[in-house]
Symmetry: C2
Subunit: 145 residues, 2 copies
DNA sequence: CAGTATCCTCCTCGATACTG
DNA sequence: CAGTATCGAGGAGGATACTG
């Protein structure tokens, strides 16, 4: 069912050009998220850590603690969990060097690299429009009061 | 595909839309997520509903229950919460028609439309690589057993 | 260094009931 | 139709302690 979904196109100013319908159920009956690729991806990338980890690994491979410091604010447990997830999804490579103390290097797989581009677009949007969002929030909150 | 990736590196920002470093803390010391635009955006879009709602509103405005059916699987409460969030962030417009019964129409703002494009890119990635991810998972799980 | 194991706490989210 | 209010279960995720 999800074979032809592509076709986002790339020229128009947003409202047309987007065959968004294809990603979603025509009648929206089913409650299941399992058959929707969008959901599947977002469930992974949704947690802030996955996104940031992939971004951080894009320039160069990194070891566990370096990554932990680089990401900032992530607990050891969550970083481990996140990396396992990404590894399982084939986005991240885990390479162990049997030295003492042990070294483990994480890097993006080829599949992982293909994600960097779209993620960077979103990141770019974030930096471009962050101010607008903040302002909109401020106005909304002001109006509510 | 990797040839593009080198430009991600912070070494040469130039015109690049993809200087990832800029969004992240140099030393990653601070635990706060507040100052990072990436986090800010992802926290919004992270919940599957926001993403799907924006996608659904891209082609045309929609009323509450139509949206609820279209998204599928979202509870009334979560849709309300999600829409309020998006409205607060200036991404969605809420227009009330004082009829009986009341009609409320939701649509994307101009700012909201600018998000559609990057979101569609990610969606596109999802549909393109969904199979690979599923396979990677299967292999990983097989190896674990 | 790079984890694993446990506990424990919020906080999200769904279910349900009520309203203009 | 389009919400709001309230409650309760469940899971995400932090803190801590231990290990190869």
């Amino acid at each position: 069912m999800n074979e032809q979904i592509g076709r986002i196109d790339g020229g128009m100013p947003a409202d047309s050009a987007l065959s968004v319908e294809a990603f979603l159920t025509p009648q929206g009956e089913l409650p299941a998220a399992s058959d929707c690729p969008v959901r599947d991806v977002l469930d992974r990338l949704g947690d802030a850590w996955s996104f940031l980890v992939v971004l951080r690994l894009a320039p160069a491979p990194m070891r566990f603690n370096a990554l932990k410091r680089a990401v900032g604010g992530v607990s050891q447990r969550m970083l481990t969990v996140t990396l396992r997830s990404l590894e399982r999804d084939g986005l991240v490579n885990r390479k162990v060097f049997p030295t003492t103390p042990p070294q483990v290097e994480y890097s993006l797989t080829q599949l992982g690299f293909t994600l960097v581009r779209p993620m960077a677009e979103l990141t770019r949007w974030a930096s471009d429009h962050h101010a607008s969002v903040r302002q909109a929030r401020a106005e909304y909150d002001a109006g509510a009061a």
